[in-house]
Amino acid sequence: MDDEEFDRLLEDELELLREMEEADVAIAASSSASAKETTAEAGGQRKRPIESVDPSSSSSTCLSNSIEQQQTVKRPRIDPISEALPQQQKSNSALPEQSPPKSIQKPAEPAWRYHRTVPTVGKEFCSVTGSQGQRIYLSIRDAAAFENVLDASADQPIGAAKRTLEGYSLLGKKGGELRDQAVAENRRRQQRLNAWRATATATAAADRSTKSSATPTELWVSKYSPKSYMDLLSDEATNRALLHWLKSWDHSVFGRPRRQSVIPAAAAVAVGEDDDNGDGRQQRRQFKQQEAEARENQPPEYDDSGRPFFKVALLWGPPGRGKTTLAHTAARQCGYNVVEMNASDDRSVDQFRARLDAVARSRGSVRLGGVGGDGDGSPSLVPGCLVLDEIDGAPAPAVDALVACLKAAPKKRGNQRPLMRPVICVCNDPFVPALRHLRPLALQLRLPDPPQAGLVNRLLEVCRAEGLPGDRLAVAGLATRHGGDLRSCLQALQFMGEAGPDASHSVVGLRDTGESLMSILGRLFSRQPLDSSVLAACSESDERLAECLHHNYPLAARDTKRAAAVADWLRFHDILGAVCFSGRQNDAFALAKYAPFALLACRHQLAGRRAPRLSLPPPELRGLALQQLQSQRAGIAKGVQTDLPPACRIGRDCLVLDLAPCLLDILQPSLRPVSTHLYTAKERRDLATLVDCMICYGLHYTQQRLPDGQMQFALEPPLDQLVRFSEPPAAAPPAATTTTSTTSTSAGRRPPLSGAVKQLVARELQAERLRRADAAAAARLGPSAPTSASTTGASAPAKSTSTPERRRLADTVRGLAPSAAATASAVASASAPAPVVRDFFGRPISTPAAAAAAAPAAAEKLSTSAASAGPKSLLNDRIWFRFNEGFSNAVRRPVRVRTFHNLLDAYQKSGS
């Protein structure tokens, strides 16, 4: 703010000066010698440091050309290495943050002073309030003293002017006259401006008309790129930090004495992630504290060899903020010749190293052909500064070469020469893996968005210069839309300028918007007016958005009609996607642009005053999860299919729809869970059929350990997973409906086989498999072998067969009995008349009949125990009994509960 204000004041004043000069240019010419002297004398102080260093750039500040030229003639040629510049000026340019001395505010009238605060007591002053509300105080001198001053400077142009044009001095006129003059002056300015505008528009129009033919025009981006440091729009703090760093090279590059300055606070700020300090005072204090700490913790500014501690500056930030421009301008500002290397160059390691050697590691200077010269053709020697643009895209070995160069000690001779010139790296993303080693060695500067006001002003200037009718609001809108991306702003502006008068209707594409999915979704569900950015965002995350919308819309739809409309749109979107991306029609891809509109159309049905609580679809409901589940079940079906015998192979749909559900029922005949030799002939036949069927279709039971440690038999392949449906637990708001539905679903369904029966079947299966394998082996050995083995039936182990082979088989089968506990439960349930229906935890479900049956059997439970009794009894009772002998068909001895009681008593007695 300080600078701006300063600039404004200066500008007004200089304009005045220029007009005066126009008025009496002859007189000025006559006394040019003295004028030169004056300007040369004041030169170092008055002029901004930039202008003094950078004479070639056309100064945009408002010194009149005549003065400028006089100066440049007078000023010694700039050669930073030779100590040509006066010391004063150099230190001045080294400290750009230092404002010029206040006293030179009115260079033509040194008698004038102004103060920021009330001047010292005793002096007269008058206060002036600026248009911005700032207040300055002008001290008043008495007339006699002023006359003296005027006389003393009689030979100066202003004095001359005063003498020739009688009463030109400000104080020499009356207030009314002054006002009239000011009004006239204003009018004149306005006229001039209008005339200028008219010609500008005319030329622009002419340009436009001719442009279409052949003349290629310069891109506005380069046309209006900042020419000097003061033109930079980027964040001031960052600019200064970079400049400061560049200046710290002065000692080693130009051999100037080292400056012991405070590290600007800006550096600390810029290094930090965010430059947004809150408004609260406490926060600010806190911030200052942190800043101080940061300053303490900062590494020393210089290393041993006099070079800055950080050899490399890493300038990063989003695109279009002016990083490259800043790097170039700042380097030029500090007297370097910029050598750039960007992504369009060859960036192999060799090239990289060569360039590094040529520019940054050499102690010499780069020949600056004609640019720095004064037009006399002699090239000047200027040290180089390497700007590595877009380094985040450089190959990692190239960056590593740079890092190696950074780490090289200055003393060491040989291959690894140290870096002698500043290197500025520019990138969008400093966190790419390639830059990992570079980051700790570099001064990291993040370039934040340029301040909005400055951006808008600049854009307005451009509009004016190009003759575009741009009002502040529109330009501000443009700036917001592009989110601080200066480059795209300018490009959009140029596009609109070229498109002609109907540019207001033209659509300028946006680059990737950083909006999150949820926020877009929220906007689709709210009544807030939409802008075109939502459309862009919609088309960006099209599929995901459709999925989210699909997940959420029933919550927001007020009635079924709206829901149906939304569903229809989503359906349309799906078809559009399918048509576009299936590749069936080649030109169908053109339709893809309509897809986001289908999503936006849903908004008419959904948008409400209050957005519902939106959520992303849970992972189990996403398309991908569904596919996974589907393919998992398809895998089961495939497994069953491959195990089918060749003659009964069927397609998947038939398997899933017809065979599998019925097969699961067929595999559950009502079998008693008793030893097979107690079976009737019919039951045996049933069992045999079952086993035969399971072998034929490649099914078997495997033992699985449940999480609670119990063993369970499961069908393999798991047909039940393929066939059985679970009631969705999430979607069951009213408990009543759910329970009725589950009961009705499972009404016709018999409970699955009990564990005991499964075990029995599993055992039979194993036996039958062995038997078949035996038979097959026998058949292979000799046709004379008895073929009756395979026809003996499934209940063979129960039959007494005398051959030793048979007995061995029976033994094997017995050995296969899986677990004692399961056997015990089998025996236990054998005593019950009906198969005990168990729930999930293995507890028997007490139907009335079962309860009646259980009552007499209750005593027995103590003995047969662990498997059937709950875990509670296991914990409470200190003693329990269980069979350990395993299962045997041969030996069965009835044991009474009473004997167990007796045993228990005896144990307790002995224990006590």
């Binding site: 819309y553 029933p554 739809a557 009635d559 079924t560 009609k561 829901a563 149906a564 569903a567 989503l570 359906r571 979107h573 799906d574 078809i575 996607g577 399918a578 048509v579 398309g623 569904l626 589940l629 589907q630 079940r633 015998p645 060749p646 003659a647 009964c648 192979r649 397609g651 998947r652 749909d653 038939c654 899933v656 729809l657 017809d658 065979l659 559900p661 019925c662 029922d665 067929i666 595999l667 559950q668 005949p669 009502s670 019919k682 059929t689 069927c693 279709y697 393929l722 066939v723 059985r724 449906f725 679970s726 969705p728 979607a731 708001p733 409906t737 539905s741 679903t745 016709g748 018999r750």
Partner: protein, 355 residues
Amino acid sequence: MSLWVDKYRPKRLDKLDYHTDQADRLRALVESGDFPHLLVYGPPGAGKKTRIHALLRELYGAGVERLRLEQQSFTAPSKRKVEIETVSSNFHLEVSPGDAGIYDRVVVMELIKQVASVNQLDASQQREFKVVVLNEVDRLTKDAQHALRRTMEKYMATCRLILCANSTSKVIQAIRSRCLAVRVSAPTEDEIVQVLQGTCRKEGLSLPDSLARRIAQASERNLRRALLMAEACRAQQQPFDPDQSVCLGDWQLYLKETAKKVLEEQSPARLLIVRTRLYELLSHCVPPDLIMRCLVTELISSCDGTLKAEVLTLGAEYEHRMRLGQKAIFHLEAFVARFMAVYKKFMDEVIMADW
């Protein structure tokens, strides 16, 4: 071979239980010595495969029943390996090229080329052509079908194709015109009852007539399903009880339940519930068009007469769109939502009229 479906499958053309006229004609075709490519089509469970196998047996004798399973692998142009299982005898080869997904074109071309390029060794004793049975031709991609078209003509001398499909609507015209179409319609309920009775008699069981009829009705004229249901009934209860319940497939019950939920209440909240059920169905590999069809049937059966036509039209439209699209759930749900809207409007009008 222990399920009734497979155990009592007729092996010869003259043992077939129904469509005997057609069987006679097929036999006449075989006896004439040569026959064109066949396209056998009809609804599932009508007996297409049974007829094809009987025909093959008629052609080559009992040798075709000695089947072996082979894994064949092909390399697609994109260097991707495609594996597919084939069932073959010395005289024929049976394959479901639809299993190869989008690579079915490679399978069709390579496999048929491979079979057809080898002549029968002993042509004097046997037929001079082999037979390739392609199952589920309607699942083939358009590419594969076009590839098939050329192959069919090229290898006509050594190879006959028997295509098996549920419907000809997805078989391209070019193939249809190259084949003799044999339609195997679904058996009538009476025929199913007969088959069931006969099967039970062979098993030594007596099936009550009423139960047989109920099974036939529940099977929707799908003989395979009917036989499996009958066997499930037997597993459930022995001997048969005339009043015994017939188990439908789980997915059928679940679908019925879903339709009931749609009719119970029409609201966006209910739509959410229905959606999870649809997801469940889809994840159980139930084909979406079947879901749509069953839903429409269920809904129509409980709709007022004036609504039936509209719902049917809706169903047809949404099913068609579903085939065009990718995500079945969007279309199924859209149908449910639309039905809810229509049904609710109708019910509201009825209530208003009553007032």
